[in-house]
Symmetry: C2
Subunit: 167 residues, 2 copies
Amino acid sequence: MGLFTRDIESLDDLFLHQLQDMYYAEKQIIKAMPTMIDSASSEALKDALQTHLRETEQQVQRLEQVFQLQGAQAQGVECPAIDGIIDEAKDVNSEIADKSVLDSALIASAQSVEHYEISRYGTLIAWAQCLGKTDCVPLLRKTLEEEKAADAKLTGLAEQTINRRAA
Amino acid sequence: MGLFTRDIESLDDLFLHQLQDMYYAEKQIIKAMPTMIDSASSEALKDALQTHLRETEQQVQRLEQVFQLQGAQAQGVECPAIDGIIDEAKDVNSEIADKSVLDSALIASAQSVEHYEISRYGTLIAWAQCLGKTDCVPLLRKTLEEEKAADAKLTGLAEQTINRRAA
C-alpha cells in the first residue's frame, strides 16, 4: 500500500487486501503457536493447541486456494492487529510463573486470536457473497467453522478444568 | 509490570491485570470512535457507532465499579492488542477514497474491535465465576451482552445495505 495514495478503490480491492492481511496473520499465528504449546502444562490444552496448529496450516492452504480463485498471487501484508494480539500474549504470559495460572492465560490469549479470526473470516464471507464469489465462500466458511470450534473447545477446557486448577 | 519479575502470581492477579488491560482498551476505543463516526457516510452506520460510543462510556464506568469491588484503583495498562487493532483500522481506512467502500471497511474495523472485547469480557466472566466474584459477574455480563448486540447490529447493517452499496 502506498503511503500517500489510496490504493483500495473497490470492495474487490478491499476483499483482496483482507485476504492478504489474513495470510500474514495465519503465518504469524503458526510461528507463535509452538511456544504456546511448549508453555502449556495441561496435556489437554497442549493437545487442543497442537490440533489447532495443524488446522491453521490447512487454513493457510485454503487461503492460497482463495487467492488462486482471484487470479492473484498469495502474499501477506503487515497486520498490526495480529502483531499486537501476539505481542500482548507474550507480554502477559512472561509475567506468570505459576503453571496453572499460565494455562488459564494461554487459553485467554488463544481465544483473543480466535476471535480476531472469527471477525475477519466473517467479514470476508459477507464480502465474497456480496461480490458473487460463490467459489470462495465454502473455503472461507470451513475455516470460520474451525475457528469457532477451536474457541468453543478452549472455553470448555477453561470452564471444566483449567480455571479451577488456577483459582 | 516489571521487566524481569513475574508479577502475576495468581488467577486473582491475572483477573486484575486483564481489568486494567480492558480499562486502557475502552479508553483507546473512546478516543478512536469519533474519527470513525466522522468518516462514515451511511446515517444508519453513524447512528450505530454513536450509540455504541455512548455505551462504551458506560462500560468504562462499569469497569470502575468492578475495580472498586476489588478494592483496587481503576487504572490501565498498555494493551498492544487494541493498539494494533486500531492502528490497522486507521491504516486500511486511510487507503480508501470511495465512501461506500469505506463504510464497509469501517464496519469490518468496528467488528474486529467488538470481537476483541467479546473475547476479553468472556474470559473475565469465566475467571470471576471461578474466583467467586459473584458481585462482578452481572456488571461484566451486561457489557458482554452490549458488545455482542453491537456486533450483531453491524452485521445486519453490512448485509442489508452497506456491502451492497459498496459492491
